[in-house]
Structures are given as structure tokens and as C-alpha cells.
């Protein structure tokens, strides 16, 4: 059996995970928390697109645009309404993780209870595709890869070439020093959550176009995004991105080597192996307790 299709699909999947990993890394380095609450943003974005499609009957591109507007707003809203209270009190990392995890669970089950647990698709037509490297890639999959690369480049540009981006990097590097020179951490955090929300939105839109919407779609990408941070490290923002691609490939190679039911076991086993052998991450240093114990 040829490996090439698995590698191509794995890379496509990895690029999608890379966006989530980047959003998580941005928050982790800047705010100092593991934000599983991005899964809530993921779901809110996906269901916004679905509601616009099914209730208002907007065309898909309009739905996608609407979802991309809602994603950062949802992220900022969650920070303002929930996280800020805990961050201000300098809560421990464990508390922040629990709060974020609870937000994810709450939103997931609210949607399951009110919107039905079944899967809905946004594109009913057959999507055109092409044969590449022995595997068939459709227009959405190709768009997803291109969009991921564009989004990654866009974030890099924003962080390194704009004043607000540099402010985020400054707070990520040394919050106390940044405060000392007059940078408002609260405003920076809002921007960070906004950007992270937008990145998540960029990952969600092509994903739901390809695979549809249900209340459980956020779990795997967000947890794999976290796994990418652990595997790649947080030395630079490119570390988790590279690790996400690597994990995406492993995720699909697990199907080639075992079966689809072992995908998660193989992927998280890699995470544990990395923590055992190189806890600082494959591509640089990693510290889950950088700012909070």
C-alpha cells in the first residue's frame, strides 16, 4: 500500500491542526494558560456558520465570512466574561485549565442539548477534486491547506511587522517588563484572544465545509493542537506548527500501520514518549509553568 496518500492527507490535516496549535501557543506564551476554551470558540464559530446557512439561507462564502467575524468576538467575549476574573486573581495554572475545560464542556453540551447531536453539512453539492500523488484531493481540502499557510504567514506578519503584534510578543517574552514600560496587559490579552479566535475561525471554516458540523468536532483538533505544543515546544511559534504537521502525518500513518481506531492512541502515545525522552519539546524549550505554577 502506498504511503503517499497518507502523507498528503496527514500534511493537510497537520496544517489544519497547526492553526489551532498556533492559537493555543499564542495564548499560552502571552497569557500563561492552556486554553481548552478555544474548543468553545471552535464550536461557536462552526454553529454560527451552520445557523447562517440553515436559518438565514446565506450562501456558503457569506456564512464563512460571518463565522470569521464571530470567532474573534467569541474569543474576546470569553476572556472578558470569564478568564479575566481568574487571571486578575493570578489563579494557578490548574484552575485556569479547569475553567477553560469546563467552558468547552458547557458549550459542547449546550449545543448537543439544544441543536441536536447529529452532524449537519454545509455544502450539499459534490465538491470537485483532483488526483494528486495517488490520492484524491478536493477543492475544499486544497483550499484548507492554502488557507492554513496563508493564515500562518498572516500571523507571522502581524506579530513581527505591526506594533500591536510586537506588543503581544513583548508581553509573551516578559510580562513584568512590558508592564513596566507602560504596555497594558489587559488590552494585549484582548488582542491575543482576538487573534487566537480569528486563527481558530480560519481552521474551522474549511474543516466544517469538508466534514460538517456536530457538537463534538472541536475535541480532536484542540487536543491535538495541545499535543503539538508539547511535541514541538514553545521556543518559537514555528515549533508547534512543525509539530502539528508531524502529528497530522502520524495521525494518518496510524491508519496505514494499524487502523483508524488506533489513531488517537498512537498520537497521544507520541506525546507521552516526547515528554519522557525530551520534555522540552522536539524543536525547543517548553514550559507549562512559565508564568503560573
Amino acid at each position: 500500500m502506498s504511503l503517499v496518500p497518507y502523507l498528503i492527507n496527514g500534511t493537510a490535516f497537520g496544517l489544519s491542526i497547526a492553526l489551532i496549535a498556533l492559537a493555543l501557543a499564542l495564548i499560552w506564551r502571552t497569557v500563561g494558560m492552556i486554553d481548552f476554551g478555544l474548543a468553545a470558540v471552535y464550536l461557536i464559530t462552526a454553529y454560527t456558520a451552520l445557523i447562517l446557512k440553515t436559518q438565514l439561507e446565506w450562501p456558503f462564502l457569506w456564512c464563512a465570512a460571518g463565522a470569521l467575524i464571530v470567532a474573534p468576538l467569541a474569543s474576546i467575549g470569553i476572556y472578558t466574561a470569564v478568564y479575566r476574573h481568574f487571571i486578575k486573581r493570578n489563579s494557578a495554572l490548574f484552575v485556569l485549565v479547569l475553567v477553560a475545560l469546563c467552558l468547552h464542556i458547557a458549550v459542547q453540551h449546550i449545543l448537543a442539548a439544544t441543536m441536536s447531536a447529529q452532524k449537519f453539512f454545509l455544502i450539499d453539492d459534490i465538491i470537485p477534486g483532483w488526483e494528486i500523488g495517488g490520492t484524491r484531493l478536493n477543492a475544499v481540502q486544497i483550499t484548507k491547506m492554502i488557507l492554513s499557510l496563508v493564515a500562518l504567514a498572516g500571523v507571522a506578519y502581524f506579530c513581527h511587522r505591526t506594533g500591536r503584534g510586537r506588543t503581544i510578543l513583548a508581553v509573551a517574552d516578559n510580562r513584568t517588563l512590558a508592564q513596566g514600560i507602560g504596555i497594558s496587559t489587559d488590552a494585549t490579552y484582548r488582542w491575543t484572544y482576538g487573534i487566537a479566535g480569528l486563527i481558530v475561525g480560519a481552521a474551522v471554516v474549511p474543516e466544517i465545509a469538508e466534514n460538517g458540523v456536530d457538537p463534538y468536532i472541536a475535541t480532536t483538533p484542540v487536543f491535538l493542537g495541545m499535543a503539538a505544543i508539547i511535541v514541538g515546544g514553545l521556543a518559537t511559534f514555528t515549533s508547534p506548527v512543525l509539530a502539528a504537521v508531524l502529528l497530522g502525518i502520524c495521525f494518518h500513518l496510524a491508519v496505514w500501520g494499524f487502523s483508524s481506531s488506533w489513531q488517537e492512541v498512537v498520537t497521544y502515545a507520541i506525546v507521552i514518549a516526547v515528554l519522557l525522552l525530551r520534555p522540552q519539546g522536539l524543536f525547543g524549550s517548553f514550559s507549562p509553568v512559565r508564568q503560573r505554577a
Binding site: 479547569l98 469546563c102 458547557a106 442539548a113 439544544t114 515528554l275 507549562p288
Partner: protein, 607 residues
């Protein structure tokens, strides 16, 4: 009625699982996000044993199988999760939680997605769950009632076990590790082993709950042990109070009661469809947890420290004759002290600690370039030098907190290079820290007790296997601890959490604690910094007594030249990681060039 009995039975089972969580998270301070895994391992262990390996009346063996499998799971998780001081514990346990369900779905032995059916219920001797009930005289107790009584009995047993553990020297040490594991290692304890043991015990207890759960429902399946189950346990623990055993128990009862109220509200009052209620229950868990964390993150019931009472035979003495200073405190330092050396050997006796050419770099920064030192029994050596001279780094190397890049060091002829802090402490070296590092949520007397070396009950095995000897040791240690508190003027604060003491009191407690360990070599890192000048004399008398009355080799890092002049037999001057001079206090402090380097360091650098 049957439904209420069923709910109460489940509550008792869940309470045991929350007790296990309390041991791991509350007592041990480990950020654990995979508790449902241990619960699941217990349930599957019991179910597999009960359906495939054991005869029909093998209920006790089923429980043992569940406990063993979960404890084994705890041991397996401990290895990757507790490396690097457990920094990755939360992530590893979370990853294990995510893997577990997928794993049991894929394994044939666990019954795949269908789980394991027909798990045997309770059975004692010839009495089986299939019997109609128990006949006690004219009273017939139904099977569900028997089951409830048994589960409540197990919950009570679990409470007693945990209570005894928490109150034991072992429990006290676990709490010390939770507060500051580096300080615990400085007193000769292997913190990885302590954490691993409490994880195994907590996992085993949770495994018992899982095994009882399997026999209660006669079924186990993968969906019962997903992340949602861990969140349920977390809600129970955190709502009740994660640092309190009573809180953990109350949390389990309270959440179960609230869930039942919610069920009644949703089903009977609001008429919510059945398929929605399960989701809304999960929403309730999540929102309740966020609410409790926002309002009262310590939960309803706070941790209660054990109260120790001054023994009656000592209370009278304490009221009248507790010395404000130490015995022999006014014994003067010999006018011509024996020449302890920076690098020169004493002529009369061999040094107890000796080091040569220590070097340590952090990246491009050399903290210690060339440090050499000799310490002698009954002598005090002071290390002075400007900030950044490498004084504390030298202490860190000697005490095993950091490993040197090169050089030699030995205590009593045994090399300490490459040894852990705990191993070095066991060789007879203890230290205090510049930032005090008392165990904040242990009382003052508990700080003393936890530091004492001679405690049979301070290990899980010692406490479990020899309870009588542990009790005897504890009585002796308590007596010694009270004496120390009296000597250091802290007896009135014996039951005060160390974190609530004033800075000077914490400094004093650090001295009492190191004395409790009775080391041969004491490294005191700025023991008097920040102390009110009026109390300075008391500190000096205590430090002097360590050398003069107890014949310990004392080395202190100090910036106060009055203290150095008053205490030290020998002074070592460090600059930029090197020992550049050593001599008597008069030689060093009287050397204007050295003092200019020390006091005018910054100006010289600028110039």
C-alpha cells in the same frame, strides 16, 4: 425507595473515588486530570476477574483485582508524569485520559465498545447477589439494602484509612512535598518516591471504587470512564474542598444531591426530554465548577491542620523556664579561633566537608568559576562577597540543588558530586534557603516534625507495615519538636501555619527546622537578612550554639559584617565565582582592598 437506595449506593462509591482524588490532588498537590482512568482500571480489573477468572463467590478477589490494576496504573503513570518534578503531570494524566477510552474500545479483553456484561455482584461465602436477600432473625434485608450497607461500610473504611494516612508522619511529609519539594529533598527525602507512592495509593483507592461500581451495576463500558467522569470527580472534590477529607466526602454527597434535584427539576417540573437531560447535567457540572472556582476556589471546607498540645509534664516548665535564648548562648567565641580555611586544611583535624575547584555555568553565564572550601566540626565559616559572586550557587552545588560542571566535593571522605540533594542530606548536610522556604501550610511544629530524620512512619511502607513503631517514633519526635520550639521561642506559634508567621519568625523556624534534622554540616543562606536588629542577638546565639554546643560544621552566606565579625571563625571572600581570599574575620574585613571590591563593586565596574 429502590431508586433512593440506588442513588445512595452510587454516592458511597463515588465518595471513595473522590477520597482517592483528594489524596492525589489535595494532599499530594499533583495536578491530576485523568482520575476516571484509575476508576476505569478498577472497574475493568474487577469485571475481567469476576467474569473470566474467578468463581461466582469471588467478590473480595474481584475487589483486589480492581485495586491492584488501578494501583499498577498509578505506578505506570507515575514514571513519565513525575519526572522533572512533576511539571508535566497534568499533561501526561490528561493524555492518558484521552488514550484510555480509545484503548479499551480496541482491546478484546475489555469487551470493546460493548464493554463487559454480567459482572458478578456482591457475594460473601455462600451468600450471593442472586439470593433474595439476607435473613437476620425475622428481618429480611433486600439485596439493594445489603449492597447499600456494604458500600457505606467501604466508604467509612475509606474515610478512616485516608484520615489515618493524612494524620500520619507520612501524610505530613506528603503535604510538605506539596508545599515545596525542593525543601523536602534538602531534608533527605526522595520526593519522587513520596509522590509516586501517594499516587499509587490514591489510584488503588479509586480502583476499589471502580470495582465496587462494576459489581453495583453488573456492567462496565468505555463511555463510563470518559473525561466527563473525571470532571464529575473534580467538581465533587473542588466544591467540597480539595484539601479536606471531610470536604471531599461532603462534595460527593452535595453534588449527587444537587444532581438529583436537577433531575427532578428537568424531568418532572420542566418536562425536558430525556435525551437532553444528560447533556444539561454536564452543563451543570461545568458551570458549577467554574462558579466554585470563581467564588471560593478552596471549596466549602478548608484544610484543617492537626492541633498539637504541649505535653502536660512540659507545660509547667514551658510557662516558667523557657529560655529566650539558647543554653550556653553567652559562651564567647574563642578569642583565637581555630583556623578553619577557605582552601587551607586545619592543622588539628580533618575537614568534615571539603570541596575544590567547583565550577558551574548557566548557558554563557559562569555562576561559580573556582570555589574551594573546608568546613570543620564545631567551626563557623562565613562566605562573603558582592551580589552575583557565586555564594548561593556554591551552596546549591554543595547541597545537590545544582550539579557542578567540574570540581570535587566530599563529606567525611564520601564524594557528593553527582548525588541528589536527598542523598547529600542523608550524608549529613542540610541547608536553609535565602527565601526561607518553610512549608507554608504546615504548622510550625509540623515543619519541625517533617524535617526530623528519625521517622519510621514517614514512608508509606513504614507507616503501613509498622504502625506501632511509627506511633512510638512520633511520640518521641513530638517531644523533641516541642523542646526545639521552646528553645527557639516559637512554642506559642506551634499550631500556627508557617506561612502566617512573621518574616523573622519564619527565619527562626528555618533555624529550628535545620537543627531538627541534626546534620553534621549546616549551610545557612543569609540566616539573618531582614531580621530586626533587636532580635539579631538571639539569631546569632542560636547559630553560634550550632557550632559550639552541638559541634556542627556551620557555613553561612552573610552580608552583615557585624554578624560575620561576631560569629565566624574563618571568612571566605568570593568574587565573580572565585574564592579570592580567606582568613580570619579581622584579616578579611580589615582588608581595605577587599572591602572596596565588596562595597564599591558597582562603582568599580562602572569606572
Amino acid at each position: 425507595m429502590a431508586y433512593i437506595i440506588d442513588v445512595l449506593t452510587l454516592t458511597a462509591i463515588l465518595m471513595i473515588a473522590v477520597h482517592g482524588y483528594m489524596l492525589i490532588k489535595g494532599l499530594g498537590g499533583m495536578l491530576h486530570l485523568g482520575h476516571a482512568v484509575f476508576y476505569g482500571l478498577g472497574a475493568y480489573g474487577a469485571a475481567i476477574a469476576g467474569t473470566r477468572l474467578l468463581p461466582a463467590a469471588g467478590f473480595p478477589a474481584m475487589l483486589l483485582a480492581g485495586i491492584s490494576l488501578a494501583a499498577l496504573g498509578g505506578a505506570v503513570v507515575a514514571w513519565p508524569a513525575l519526572r522533572n518534578r512533576g511539571r508535566y503531570f497534568m499533561i501526561v494524566t490528561f493524555a492518558v485520559q484521552l488514550i484510555f477510552v480509545t484503548l479499551v474500545i480496541n482491546l478484546p479483553v475489555t469487551g470493546g465498545p460493548d464493554g463487559i456484561l454480567s459482572v458478578p455482584g456482591l457475594a460473601f461465602g455462600s451468600w450471593l447477589s442472586s439470593s433474595t436477600g439476607l435473613n437476620i432473625g425475622s428481618v429480611v434485608i433486600s439485596y439493594p439494602q445489603v449492597k447499600l450497607a456494604v458500600m457505606v461500610g467501604f466508604a467509612a473504611l475509606s474515610f478512616w484509612f485516608c484520615y489515618t494516612l493524612i494524620q500520619s508522619p507520612y501524610g505530613r511529609l506528603i503535604r510538605a512535598v506539596r508545599e515545596d519539594d525542593v525543601a523536602v529533598e534538602a531534608y533527605g527525602r526522595d520526593t519522587m518516591l513520596i509522590k509516586a507512592s501517594v499516587l499509587v495509593i490514591g489510584a488503588g483507592l479509586t480502583g476499589l471504587a471502580g470495582a465496587l461500581f462494576a459489581s453495583h451495576f453488573n456492567y462496565v463500558g468505555p463511555t463510563q470512564f470518559e473525561l466527563d467522569a473525571t470532571v464529575l470527580f473534580l467538581v465533587m472534590l473542588i466544591v467540597g474542598g480539595q484539601y479536606s477529607l471531610l470536604g471531599a466526602s461532603v462534595g460527593a454527597v452535595l453534588i449527587m444531591a444537587l444532581l438529583e434535584l436537577l433531575r427532578i427539576l428537568l424531568d418532572n417540573v420542566l418536562g425536558v426530554p430525556f435525551d437532553m437531560t444528560a447533556h444539561l447535567r454536564q452543563v451543570f457540572f461545568a458551570v458549577a465548577l467554574i462558579g466554585v472556582l470563581a467564588i471560593r476556589s478552596t471549596g466549602l471546607i478548608a484544610e484543617r491542620l492537626p492541633k498539637y498540645v504541649l505535653p502536660t509534664r512540659r507545660a509547667g516548665e514551658a510557662g516558667e523556664t523557657i529560655p529566650s535564648t539558647v543554653p550556653g548562648a553567652h559562651t564567647p567565641v574563642p578569642a583565637q579561633p581555630h583556623p578553619a580555611t577557605g582552601s587551607r586544611m586545619d592543622q588539628q583535624s580533618a575537614p568534615v566537608l571539603t570541596c575544590r575547584g567547583l565550577r558551574k555555568s548557566f548557558g554563557g553565564v559562569t555562576a561559580v568559576a573556582d570555589a574551594s572550601l573546608d568546613l570543620f566540626d564545631g567551626r563557623i565559616v562565613a562566605i562573603i562577597g558582592p551580589n552575583g559572586a557565586g555564594k548561593t550557587s556554591t551552596f546549591n552545588i554543595l547541597s545537590g540543588v545544582e550539579q557542578s560542571d567540574s570540581g570535587t566535593a566530599s563529606i567525611g571522605g564520601t564524594s557528593i558530586i553527582g548525588r541528589t540533594a536527598a542523598e547529600i542530606a542523608r550524608l549529613g548536610l542540610a541547608r536553609t534557603f535565602q527565601d526561607v522556604r518553610v512549608w507554608g501550610r504546615l504548622s510550625a511544629i509540623e515543619n519541625i516534625l517533617a524535617a526530623r530524620a528519625n521517622q519510621h512512619g514517614a514512608t508509606a511502607l513504614g507507616w503501613l507495615a509498622h504502625p506501632e513503631r511509627s506511633r512510638r517514633d512520633e511520640i518521641e519526635n513530638l517531644d523533641a519538636a516541642w523542646r526545639l520550639l521552646e528553645r527557639f521561642g516559637l512554642e506559642q506559634h506551634a499550631n500556627t501555619p508557617a506561612g502566617q508567621l512573621s518574616y523573622a519568625q519564619r527565619k527562626m523556624l528555618a533555624l529550628a527546622r535545620i537543627d531538627a534534622f541534626a546534620p553534621r554540616v549546616m549551610l545557612l543562606d543569609e540566616p539573618t537578612s531582614g531580621v530586626d536588629p533587636r532580635r539579631l542577638g538571639t539569631f546569632l546565639e542560636h547559630i553560634r550554639s550550632f557550632a559550639e554546643c552541638e559541634n556542627r560544621a556551620v557555613c553561612l552566606v552573610e552580608h552583615n559584617m557585624t554578624v560575620v565579625r561576631d560569629l565566624a571563625d574563618w571568612v571566605v571572600f568570593m568574587e565573580e565565582g572565585r574564592v579570592i581570599a580567606a582568613g580570619t574575620p579581622a584579616d578579611i574585613i580589615g582588608n581595605r582592598d577587599l572591602m572596596r571590591v565588596y562595597l564599591g563593586h558597582r562603582e568599580l565596574k562602572v569606572a
